[in-house]
């Protein structure tokens, strides 16, 4: 049988999880309210909620009476900053206090009928929900909904009044493109799901929401297109998400680390993107997207190695150009992994690799350099990595200054001082540039492994280098992401999917979805879409 999804060890995992959560809960403040329900007395309820939300200065309590009937007291509770205040005052407070009576003149509003009345006529809000569980009420208040309590009723109405200051949709920072959509996901889950829904307006786009994080109660959405996606995959994603029992989910990176197949691998087996168009494309190929509230980075699984060498734009530019660019990217990936190691091997083990004049020229440069070439490259690589990190961490204007100074120091002064050979600078610089041509997440892995290869190469020359590459190769071959071999479609080779690895087939020739990802629904489009002038178009 083909192993589709690697079985985990459920028994052991659950046990340990329970132990952890039990011990942790005991250290938290009193949690007995979680199971309680409302009482009919408004004051009791308010007191209890206030006690739970003690010292939460952003929670607001507004008590008022319903439609000038002093008998019916109401209380509205909401969190300031998370709610749309205009909506609350217009559609709840004003409506309940003033307009209901006018809207239904002559109708007597008795205390016993008030709840019906409010629900049917009193509230102008779009979504309302009724509950009597304290736990749900607290949850609603803290996530931006407003809760209406009523004297005499042991029930509360939750009004959907969420609305908080959110960053406007802007251009993607991490994945800039020349051609293609310029919008990017933001920190708000709803906005993000909306961005997806706007691209795929199909009832088959399903977005299921979970709450994860014991303390943070972060909303996490799983999106997929029913009919394209493999149902087993969705089930697996959900089960892996439900396994998560942690305090906080602050970024999708938390989820990534908690659901990935190979936690020890340097290679990412979960992809992320901040571009809605890219996420939509992933969904359409049968992947599952995981959106996390509070971050613009959306996870997509299963993830293939080649995805990291592809860009969203690849499908918007014409295919010949895309293919050429992809060749450059693959070559860059190779360079960024091996070039310094190759240089070390060639210079200190296999001078016969270099043409005579080049060898003499490098030898001439190196005459004055006091270090072995390995030390030289290592120090330069570390310097480069330091500069890069500094460039990211520093405030933007300063970052530029740092890179300029760094470039000057390395490029000019070090060579002039005879500390490094010019050839080494070229090698390190080219390697650095090459590692920027593809996705950041993968380039981190490449950069780390580059150092390993440099060590091996310094010890054993080409043999060490190749041994290292072979080990990396074996490791890559053994990776799977949610049941899909990481290196597919190249290895194992699935013929029809090779049209989107290095070569990007024209869109009219991509009839099928990736075979190992979208297992059930392979057909993507009709076969005879190749454009042609009218006279040569096949008839019928």
């Amino acid at each position: 049988m083909v192993r589709f999804l690697k079985p985990r060890k459920p028994g052991m995992v659950k046990q340990s999880n329970q132990q952890v959560s039990q011990s942790r809960e005991s250290s938290l403040p009193d949690t007995s309210w979680k199971e309680q329900v409302l009482s009919p007395d408004l004051d009791t309820n308010l007191a209890q909620i206030k006690a739970i939300l003690d010292r939460c200065s952003d929670v607001m309590y507004r008590e008022f009476i319903f439609a000038q009937n002093e008998q019916i007291r109401l209380a509205l509770i909401y969190t300031d900053g998370l709610t749309d205040k205009e909506q609350i005052s217009e559609q709840i407070t004003k409506a309940l206090a003033l307009e209901v009576a006018m809207a239904a003149p002559g109708q007597e509003i008795s205390k016993s009928r008030a709840l019906e009345f409010i629900k049917q006529r009193g509230l102008c809000v779009n979504e309302i929900k009724q509950t009597d569980k304290i736990r749900e009420i607290i949850q609603a208040i803290l996530s931006g909904d407003s809760v209406l309590l009523m004297d005499g009723y042991a029930t509360a109405i939750i009004n959907g009044t969420r609305g908080w200051a959110s960053r406007a949709i802007s251009e993607p920072e991490a994945e800039p493109t020349v051609r293609g959509a310029r919008d990017s996901f933001v920190e708000t889950l709803r906005t993000n799901t909306a961005l997806l829904r706007r691209r795929i307006s199909s009832p088959n786009l399903k977005i299921e929401v979970f709450k994860l994080g014991e303390v943070t109660n972060t909303e996490v959405a799983v999106a997929y297109i029913e009919g394209i996606v493999n149902e087993k995959l969705v089930a697996e994603v959900k089960s892996r998400l439900q396994r998560i029992k942690v305090d906080a989910i602050l970024e999708s990176g938390y989820i990534e680390e908690l659901i990935e197949d190979h936690p020890w691998s340097p290679f990412p087996t979960v992809n992320h993107t901040e571009k809605p168009d890219r996420a939509a494309a992933m969904l359409l190929e049968g992947r599952v997207a995981i959106l996390v509230d509070g971050t613009p980075f959306v996870l997509t699984v299963p993830n293939l190695f080649v995805e990291h060498l592809h860009a969203a734009e690849d499908y918007y530019e014409r295919f010949i150009f895309t293919t050429a660019v992809r060749v450059i990217r693959f070559f860059s990936a190779f360079i960024s992994l091996t070039l310094p190691a190759l240089y070390i091997a060639a210079v200190s083990f296999h001078p016969e690799l270099l043409p005579t004049t080049l060898l003499l020229s490098i030898a001439g440069q190196r005459e004055a350099v006091p270090f072995p070439v390995f030390m030289e490259v290592l120090v330069m690589e570390l310097t480069f990595e330091t500069l890069r990190e500094a460039g990211i961490r520093l405030p933007r204007p300063l970052g530029q200054a740092v890179s300029i100074v760094g470039a000057l120091v390395i490029g000019e002064a070090a060579v002039r001082a005879g500390l490094v050979a010019a050839a080494t600078v070229i090698v390190v610089a080219f390697t650095g540039i090459a590692s920027f041509t593809f996705a950041y997440s993968a380039s981190i892995a490449f950069r780390l492994l580059r150092f390993t290869l440099m060590f091996l190469s310094a010890a054993m020359g080409l043999f060490g280098l190749i041994t290292g590459v072979a080990l990396i190769g074996i490791h890559l071959c053994s990776l799977r992401s949610f049941g899909v071999p990481y290196l597919s479609p190249a290895v194992p080779m699935t013929g029809t999917d090779l049209k989107d690895v290095v070569f990007r087939a024209p869109l009219w020739a991509m009839f099928t979805r990736p075979r190992l990802i979208a297992r059930q629904n392979q057909e993507r489009q009709e076969q005879n879409l190749k454009p042609a002038p009218p006279e040569t178009r096949p008839r019928g």
Binding site: V2, R3, A346, F349, H350, E352, L353, L354, P355, M460, G461, L462, F463, G464, L465, I466, T467, A470, L471, G473, I474, L476, C477, S478, P485, L487, A490, V491, P492, M493
Partner: protein, 365 residues
């Protein structure tokens, strides 16, 4: 079942190519040319035919016993005790053969790449890499092979094309200068390498479509034959029969000769580097065969615990060989009757005959 993974036909073809080509292409030209001079390419054609016969024999035999490996059906055919004996012989051959391959591989790297490095270092490193692949299972081994073998094959072709400048067809003439006996003699050793395809009998149960096994084996043998043929033609066209026979690793020397426009030259280190992947794969397959068949022979549930100790035995066996002359002499004289006569043709033939006679096995092949 010891092995959970499945491999597809493409991977199987590539595995079989790796099983034959990487070391064959190193020394084959020298050994064959020594016997058959410029007619060595005829020897290779003869050897390919022999390889096809062995492939037919092995796949035919295996398909009679679907889902079973060589060791398992040997017991079914011959009975428990003789079957176990045959199994033991094969385990020995996988180990010893692999030690020889490791030896050849390491001597080559040592004399061509890093002469100051003790051979044992190569043994250990190569075995560690192969062990990791074997440990990860057949699927990973074949994927690894699928990842890198195309590179090896492609590079070889490119190098041969680049060497075209120095080739002279007249060096191949006259044809049939040597008699048929010399050509046949020259064919024996390559045939014994092609015969290593007998290991396929261990892998057929893990094919996702076992019925394609004959096609897989034949394709692999033909591709190997083609490569060896091209290789020998190129070597002889560059060095002539006399010099070719005197090199130890003529293909290596061929790559050293390539020089295009005074710039595209000195490619041999790159070629060796790429070729090393082939070596890893070949040693890995033999290694896997040894570990898997040991586990089957002993009726274990998992072959993985055996991987590390088998590796130790492998390195120790390889280290027994004192120098390359000993190795080359063994390969040129004792290896063909030992491997070809016994393990690659002899025992499978015996098994087939007995199976037919006793009417064992599913269907006739």
């Amino acid at each position: 079942m010891l092995e959970q993974g499945k491999i597809d036909s493409k991977q199987a073809i590539l595995l079989l190519i790796s099983l034959v080509l990487p070391t064959a292409i190193l020394t084959a030209p020298a050994i064959t040319v020594k016997q058959a001079a410029q007619d060595a390419w005829l020897s290779i054609i003869v050897a390919t035919m022999a390889g096809l016969l062995i492939a037919a024999l092995v796949t035919g035999l295996s398909l009679r016993f679907p889902g079973k490996t060589l060791l398992e059906y040997a017991e079914e055919i011959l009975g428990r005790l003789p079957g176990k004996m045959v199994g033991l012989l094969y385990i020995w051959w996988f180990l010893h053969g692999n030690a020889l391959i490791l030896d050849e591989y390491a001597s080559f790297l040592c004399s061509a790449l890093m002469p100051d490095t003790p051979v044992i270092v190569f043994f250990v490193f190569v075995t560690v890499v192969a062990a990791l692949a074997v440990y990860s299972g057949l699927e990973v081994l074949s994927r690894f092979n699928q990842l890198f073998l195309p590179l090896v094959l492609g590079l070889l072709l490119v190098v041969f094309l680049l060497a075209a400048k120095d080739m002279e067809v007249t060096r191949l003439l006259p044809v049939f200068d040597k008699d048929a006996a010399a050509i046949l003699k020259g064919a024996v050793i390559p045939a014994s390498w092609f015969g290593e395809i007998v290991i396929f009998a261990l892998l057929i149960p893990f094919l996702d479509r076992a019925e394609e096994a004959p096609r897989v084996a034949v394709t692999a043998i033909l591709i190997c034959g083609l490569y060896l043929l091209i290789c020998i033609l190129v070597v002889v066209m560059i060095f002539g029969p006399h010099v070719s026979a005197r090199w130890i690793f003529p293909t290596f020397n061929t790559i050293r000769v390539v020089s295009i426009a005074n710039f595209l030259e000195r490619l041999e280190s790159i070629a060796i580097a790429v070729w090393m992947f082939g070596g890893f794969a070949k040693i890995g397959i033999f290694y896997y065969a040894a570990a898997l068949s040991s586990a089957q022979w002993l009726g274990l549930k998992d072959y993985r615990p055996l991987v590390a100790p088998v590796g130790v035995v492998l390195v120790a066996l390889a280290a027994l060989c004192r120098n390359i002359v000993e190795l080359l002499n063994f390969l040129a004289t004792a290896w063909p009757p030992y491997a070809l006569g016994l393990f690659e043709a002899g025992i499978p033939l015996l098994l087939l005959v007995v199976a037919r006679a006793r009417g064992k096995g599913g269907r006739g092949a």
